[in-house]
């Protein structure tokens, strides 16, 4: 009997802004192979890019000696993307941006990444790796009508 083993794709990227594009294009390629429609692929691309940017900026603090890991796992119509860094995980909670406060300078214009990740994928979770690094887990699922 053939076991149903999840397929995985792994990347390791430098902690430099711009390399998140490699992760988002890879995630898009895998999602298209699985049959996700363009709208979901675009959602995933933005979520993956934001997770990578946070990993580079806040997790690895732009330390070029460190890399970020991206693990894409495909199983039963689900695509899970883990973004791993050497930080200690997020110390902020996800909050919806308040555009009026931003426009009046009462809230930083930046700081929407975690909100976008949570809003654009089916599941977004911030954890720590067993070795103490930061990990963001994103998941999108094929709806039955998309399969």
């Amino acid at each position: 009997m053939v076991q149903d083993i999840p397929s995985t794709v792994e990347l390791r990227l430098p902690s430099k802004l711009g390399f998140e594009k490699v992760a988002m294009q890879t995630a898009a390629g895998v999602a298209r192979l699985m049959g996700f429609p363009d709208e979901r692929v675009d959602d995933l691309k933005t979520a993956v890019a934001e997770a990578c940017i946070n990993a580079i900026e806040h997790g690895n603090r732009f330390d070029e000696r460190l890399s970020i890991g991206i693990v894409l796992s495909m199983e039963d119509g689900e695509l899970e993307v883990k973004i791993l860094d050497s930080g200690s995980g997020p110390h902020k909670k996800v909050h919806a941006p308040d555009i009026d406060r931003k426009m009046h300078g009462d809230e930083e214009a930046r700081g929407m990444g975690m909100f976008l990740m949570q809003a654009l994928v089916d599941e977004a979770e911030w954890t720590q790796t067993p070795l103490g690094g930061g990990c963001v887990r994103l998941m999108i699922r094929l709806d039955k009508e998309e399969e």
Partner: protein, 124 residues
């Protein structure tokens, strides 16, 4: 030698006219809008004559926009708001129209279907 990823932002400033003949400054963004885009974006904004009260943001040639880039768009809108300038936008993909609405940006710049609609949308 380490490789530096290329993130390139361009802004081309054009002028159009509103229905009442008043000038519109059209900022045509292209390439990437990210945290590294500040000087280029605000440089383009500064090219618009101070007397121009109507602005159109053209996103149709933007290839990559992330949350740091959206934050800079917010800062441009703050600058426009302070100067009592109205801003219409067009050319966003359906995905980024959705993202702009998610973060509430459509309250400060109307998202129009195309340039003609954006220029016609100024009511005074």
């Amino acid at each position: 030698m380490t490789m530096q990823p290329q993130l390139i932002t361009r802004v081309h400033v054009d002028q159009a006219k509103a229905g009442d003949g008043s000038p519109i400054g059209v900022l045509r963004f292209s390439g990437d809008i990210t945290s590294t885009s500040r000087d280029v974006l605000f440089g383009g904004y500064a090219e618009v004559p101070a007397t121009t009260r109507k602005l159109v943001f053209d996103f149709s040639k933007v290839e990559y926009l992330n949350s740091s880039g959206i934050a800079l768009v917010i800062e441009l809108l703050m600058a426009a708001n302070k100067a009592d300038r109205k801003v219409q936008s067009f050319g966003l993909s359906p995905h980024f129209q959705k993202v702009f609405i998610m973060v509430g940006l459509n309250k400060y710049t109307h998202l129009q279907a195309d340039e003609a609609t954006a220029c016609a949308a100024f009511v005074d």
